[in-house]
């Protein structure tokens, strides 16, 4: 993303917030929402604005899974690894997806098409094993249906 765009965008976000230390998380949430991740320069601006060390900002940002420090792909693939999904085969599904889109868990493809991540629970255990692609939810997955989902690009597109 364009550096200037990030700078002005961040400035705008900062102008809507006050200066207290308790504003740190709301500011970071806004930045995450508009850029999809926390660009380094934004973090620097935040640290100047709030007058806290950059390390402190990163310390908070790295604590929450919600915040990403690197750009994420257009399709954010989230595989649930909660207890129910785990028992019903989440590990095999992760492996299958890893092999299909050639990414390891936690990685983003170089062309920013996919990000693959796992989470502890999506909150719909009855559908286990479940994955989400951006906001679309796919339940009762098997390694085969997971593979088809990513090979059949039309289906993937529809839900992107």
């Amino acid at each position: 993303m364009d550096a200037n765009l990030i700078e002005t965008g961040t400035k705008e976000i900062l102008s809507t917030h006050g200066k207290g230390h308790n504003k740190l998380v709301p500011i970071l949430l806004d930045i995450q929402e508009s850029f999809g991740y926390l660009p380094e320069n934004s973090v620097r601006q935040v640290s100047d604005f709030l007058n806290v060390r950059i390390g402190q900002v990163y310390s908070v940002a790295s604590f929450y899974k919600r915040f990403q420090l690197t750009p994420i792909g257009k399709r954010r693939v989230t595989v649930c690894r909660g207890t129910a999904c785990h028992i019903r085969g989440a590990p095999q599904i992760v492996t299958e997806i890893e092999n299909t889109i050639h990414l390891k868990e936690g990685e983003t493809s170089a062309d920013l098409e996919y990000t693959l991540e796992t989470v502890a629970c999506i909150g719909c255990c009855a559908l286990a094993p479940v994955i989400t692609v951006n906001k679309a939810v796919y339940g009762a997955m098997t390694p085969r249906t997971a593979k088809e989902l990513f090979n059949d690009s039309s289906r993937g597109d529809k839900n992107a």
Binding site: R53, I54, G55, Q56, S59, S62, F63, Y64
Partner: protein, 213 residues
């Protein structure tokens, strides 16, 4: 400073008012396990190993509580053991398996705690997660950081804060993957190396300084 006496494990002990229970006990030659306490730094009571039992049965962190005239405390009791032992076992479970080769071996606080509590290494071994060794981080030209050894006591962070006003080191991440890092501020480090000196285990490792120059 006025003197007073408190009772530790049935013995009368001289104490200075303003000192904490832990400081008094250590000065009197009575060991209480502790990891995050460091003389001169503000106690944070993070490790929860320094628990002692008050006369009414309450457990308190002795590194944080100042002595009061006539206090009666116990440093050993079944309740303390039930609280402290699992904490130590969980710490060791994520720590390096062997002490051999560790530069801190011999003056490591965790070793002291383990031998004091007679921790059963076999039992801890059963709890160990499959070995996933995390690589050593190069912190700056003067020292390295071994995440497999860090007990997250925060002494390095508090030391940096106390000496330089604001810390350059911070925690990163969450849970047992937490570590301590500079976040790109390593160039600002004045390499006083006090954090390395005070690390109670062998996490921060000074490099050969001559070689680094």
């Amino acid at each position: 400073m006025s003197k007073l006496t408190i009772n530790i494990d049935g013995k009368e002990v001289q104490a200075k008012s303003g000192d904490t229970i832990l400081e008094t006990a250590l000065a009197a030659g009575k060991y209480i396990p502790h990891l995050c306490y460091c003389p001169g730094l503000k106690p944070e009571a993070l490790c929860r190993l320094c628990l002692v039992e008050m006369a009414d049965g309450e457990l308190i962190t002795s590194c944080r509580v100042p002595v009061v005239r006539g206090m009666v405390i116990k440093t050993k009791s079944p309740a303390i053991d039930r609280a402290v032992r699992p904490t130590v076992e969980l710490l060791i479970k994520y720590h390096h398996e062997r002490c051999a080769g560790c530069p801190a071996s011999g003056h490591c606080e965790l070793q002291t705690v383990m031998s004091h509590l007679k921790i059963d290494r076999k039992r801890v071994r059963r709890l160990r997660p499959p070995p996933a060794k995390r690589p050593i981080d190069v912190m700056n030209r003067c020292f390295d950081y071994d995440p497999n050894r860090c007990i997250l006591c925060g002494i390095c962070i508090r030391t940096c804060e106390a000496i330089h006003g604001e810390s350059l080191l911070y925690y990163i991440g969450r849970g047992h993957e937490t570590k301590v890092a500079f976040y790109g501020d390593e160039k600002k480090c004045e390499t006083c190396l006090k954090c390395v000196e005070r690390c109670p285990v062998g996490t921060l490792l000074a490099k050969n300084l001559i070689e680094a120059k």
